[in-house]
Point group: C2
Chain length 406, copies 2
């Protein structure tokens, strides 16, 4: 009997899906010859879904991607790090297009099938010749095991390359989703960018792929918070080569199974971002249950997760629940003190609004030494719940963002 | 000829206004015998205006103050530091009332005329006996020069006591406004509280005093941002003994003159709070001009002022304008890159969205070494403008909030 719900972590990142190749190398954009350009290709045209930054100043490569997303098929993504091609006006648009058109020419793919992403310094023009010159080498080094090379080449101040892949069932069909991501903590010298690229072999219509991605991102990348700044370059692309199963053309159990697998993949990548946030020493899940509805739970969870005081207290491994109470009170949601139950992991510190005493603080201090932490706020209002993931705010965060200069 | 607009900084803080006395001493609430209780009185019943925290968990003393504010007259304020009497349920309400009623009894004033404030640890019950025992000594030490003693006694982790007074004209009448304030940066061990107490001799109706205070606070205390957390205990009280001039009973030039004087006083106190914010090394004015309207300007200014990346860059004395651009893009206001002019002090770094070059960065680096900085964003959309004041985000902010434990 097939275990439909069994989701398995597998090796291979974005190239775990058959038909996808990737590579990464140095084009000399960064000063120290570290990898700074990546290429991801599919052997067949793919259905593409994409999500883009909500920052008003959308960088040039994103404008191009949005155009290409309107077409039916995508087949390659070229990404550079070291320069964001943001706030670069008309020249930036030309450069992004040139990056795409030259990639298209060398690969012999249609221009519309090429997607472009950039991350790094803003307001400087792309060293476009360096990028264009690297395209033949990129193509030459494309590999079915190239995920890690690509994940490495898109890093900025990330400390580790981030890739993941899962295998699961959609109906009776085994499918895969793979992905790579980089840096959500805003990064020197100007801003960070959250980039994520995903591959899958599911057969699905374009509108459903887009809505599935939206759902998955809403419960993963949109549930993490590091410093609340949104970059001009944030983007997520999902390529499906539609090699597996009968096409999903309506909502239902197969759509839900795929979305669930996609959520798992996105959440894993998103947590990697939080864990690698600048200076972060903790990955903290803030879970709110028993709220009026999910939206209320989410508001409260974000209010806690975004409080600098809560974040610094976690860095200090300090069970400073007063700050959590204050953060709850700062959310726009109506909460009464007497309905607050608060747990650090499985240790209950507050019951119906009453502090259970300093005897517990030692136990909690021990718990707070863990790198992964759970804070659970249980209300008695309804069935709404939500989790968000945040990092602590450390001395190194300030050092990295204030003092680190090239 | 009388110079109506001449506003003069004077000595004396809250007791600069004739008829007000103040004092501060140690009641033993704090461990180290530092001053932790203050009393402010007026020789006659006063018209009172007040503003209170928007945090949902309003502390007990604020609930009492809100009740007493509905009555006509106020005559004394008793304030303790070291314990916030917040999240203390029914016991907290009783304690706040007892603090007021005993003060009323000793002073022989009506209970309704006594206002109460607390700041410090949350969720612990007030050491009410210590507070009550201190009342006779407080009354004995009340002094027309007691402002600084009171300002000192309400401090928590503030590094300096904060008081100010101004003298100006309302019509032909010379009037005074004095005030003391404490800690806006959220403070160990649980949360900070912004408290401000103001005195004046203006003769004005209660509704107009309230609306004048609201206007003044909206352009001062509500324009500062340190870490965006709002405490359960924030409050501002303004007492007027109505000794000077004919009563202001309608809006008009006299109301405006008084409000302007009150704004000056509140802004001075608010800036003192930012300068004394935890770990702050800079006081930064973020000024937006040429926006569609004032509200749009304010949104953009706060988006810049609240960005952790902008704040850490100021700490690092780094002219990281890309982060400012990103913060502008993160506000909900429609701004086009080509309408952005950006100045650090009087040095223009961006003109119509174009970066004026790295030649300027050395000049700006020198400018950024100042303790007081101005960032001006000039748009070309309209006549809207707004200023907000913020501190930098320093390593010491994190240290104070994460690592400092009693």
């Amino acid at each position: 009997m097939i275990q439909n719900n069994k989701i398995k972590l597998i090796q291979g990142g974005i190239t775990a899906v058959d038909g996808f190749k990737a590579t990464g190398l140095s084009a000399g954009i960064k000063k120290n010859e570290s990898p700074d350009i990546a290429l991801i290709t599919s052997d067949v045209p793919c259905t593409v879904a994409g999500l883009f930054t909500k920052n008003r100043f959308v960088a040039a490569p994103l404008l191009l991607c949005k155009q290409h997303l309107k077409k039916e098929a995508g087949q390659a993504i070229i990404i550079n790090s070291g320069n964001a091609n943001a706030f670069t006006g008309e020249q930036g648009k030309k450069d992004a297009k040139l990056m795409a058109s030259e990639t298209a020419r060398y690969l012999n793919f249609p221009l519309n099938s090429i997607f472009v992403a950039s991350t790094g310094v803003i307001s400087e023009y792309l060293p476009i010749q360096k990028i264009l010159s690297s395209i033949p080498s990129l193509i030459k080094t494309l590999s079915e095991k190239g995920s890690l090379a690509a994940a490495t080449a898109i890093m900025t101040t990330d400390t580790v390359a981030k890739e993941v892949a899962f295998e699961g069932f959609v109906g009776k069909q085994k499918v895969r989703i793979g992905g790579i991501t980089k840096g959500a903590g805003m990064i020197h010298p100007n801003m960070a960018t959250m980039l994520a690229f995903l591959s899958t072999d599911i057969s699905i219509t374009k509108p459903l792929l887009q809505s599935s991605l939206k759902e998955a991102v809403d419960s993963s990348f949109n549930r993490i918070t590091i410093d609340r700044d949104t970059s001009t370059n944030d983007m997520i692309l999902l390529f499906s080569n539609r090699k597996k199963g009968q096409i999903i053309n309506k909502r239902g159990s197969r759509y839900n199974q795929f979305t669930s697998l996609l959520k798992t993949t996105c959440l894993k990548l998103a947590k990697m971002l939080v864990q690698d946030a600048e200076g972060a020493t903790k990955l903290i899940e803030i879970k709110v249950i028993g709220a009026k509805n999910d939206s209320a739970a989410l508001k409260i969870a974000f209010s806690i997760a975004n409080s600098l005081l809560v974040k610094t207290a976690f860095f200090g491994e300090d069970a400073n629940w007063g700050r959590i109470i204050a953060a709850i009170g700062n959310s726009s949601v109506k909460v009464y003190p007497e309905e607050i139950d608060l747990f650090y992991g499985s240790i209950q510190l507050v019951k119906k609004g009453t502090y259970l005493g300093s005897a517990l603080e030692k136990k909690i201090s021990t718990y707070l030494k863990n790198r992964e932490l759970n804070l659970v706020l249980s209300l008695q209002t309804g069935n709404g719940q939500a989790s968000v993931w945040t990092s602590d705010l450390s001395i190194d965060y300030v050092k990295i963002n204030a003092l680190y200069r090239t």
